[in-house]
């Protein structure tokens, strides 16, 4: 079984989820502080 799709899959999911969390939190913060 080729291990690389599993390795890159795990890294990809983690990176995407954390960047989405950071971006969402940052946008929410900017929006609420501007009010």
């Amino acid at each position: 079984m080729n291990p690389w799709p599993f390795v890159f899959g795990a890294y990809g999911v983690t990176f995407a989820a954390i960047m989405a969390l950071v971006l969402w939190s940052w946008i929410a913060m900017r929006r609420s502080e501007r009010k």
Binding site: M1, P3, W4, F6, V7, G9, A10, Y11, V13, T14, A17, I18, L21, V22, S25, W26, A28, M29, S32, E33, K35
Partner: protein, 240 residues
């Protein structure tokens, strides 16, 4: 260094949180980049697991933060119930979402790691099941604290839930000892490790990098909650 009570003042807290948020994020990103570069391109494959050992460098930090975040919620809940620290419940609410995300990522990366290593995506064993329970407990806390805030509650019920949920932490920690599980036992502690340093060295970078980014997200969410509360208070005063 400001004391806990000095930081109870939201204005004083915000004065510290505003410059700290980008510092935590960017320093976390740099450390994470070093750790991920090492984990993906520098370490040798493991003699038994081969290349899939590289998943360890994201799985362990997400698991640690998924569990550590709940310890943070429990501690904030105690501080809120005992000292009525006004920012404690804000902190608990701010920790919940990133905690749930890291807990979910621990489950997903563990599942991806399990397929080539164990031959299965999922097994209902002690460690995996108790971690999944913690994920659902996070969802429950988020729903409860949101409902409590919307109904003008004083935060006591979510705080009690936050403390009660911490019973899961020792169950997760000792599940690999108490039950015969597919998940391996503890291989890393603060003082020793059964993993060779040539494979282990990026882990402190990814662990600290993820932790600093987690801290930045918590500060952003605390600032969001405080700004929202301030805007709502202003609207109530205008309506009165």
């Amino acid at each position: 260094m400001p004391s806990l009570h000095a930081l109870a003042n939201p204005a004083r807290f915000l004065k510290l949180a505003r410059p700290l948020t980008p510092i935590l994020f960017w320093s976390g990103l740099v450390l994470l980049a070093i750790g991920l570069w090492g984990a993906l391109f520098r370490i040798p494959p493991d003699y038994l697991q081969g290349e899939t050992v590289r998943i360890m460098h994201i799985h362990i930090p997400t698991a640690s933060l998924g569990m550590g975040a709940w310890a943070g919620i429990a501690l904030s809940s105690v501080v809120y119930l005992v000292w009525r620290h006004p920012l404690a419940m804000v902190a608990a609410r701010a920790i919940a979402l990133p905690g749930a995300v890291f807990c979910g990522l621990c489950l997903v990366t563990g599942s991806i790691w399990g397929r080539p290593t164990w031959g299965t995506w999922w097994e209902w064993d002690g460690r995996l099941t108790s971690m999944l329970l913690l994920f659902f407990v996070y969802l429950g806390f988020m729903a409860l604290s949101r409902a409590d805030a919307e109904r003008g509650g004083d935060g006591r019920i979510p705080a009690i839930y936050g403390i009660a949920g911490s019973v899961l932490l020792p169950i997760i920690r000792y599940s690999v000892i108490w039950w015969n599980t597919l998940h391996q036992g503890q291989s890393i502690s603060l003082t020793k490790s059964t993993i060779d340093n040539s494979i282990l060295w990026p882990l402190p970078f990814t662990l600290l990098g993820f932790s600093l980014i987690f801290g930045a997200v918590v500060l952003m969410r605390m600032r969001t909650l405080l700004a929202t509360a301030k805007a709502e208070a202003r609207m109530r005063r205008m309506a009165a």
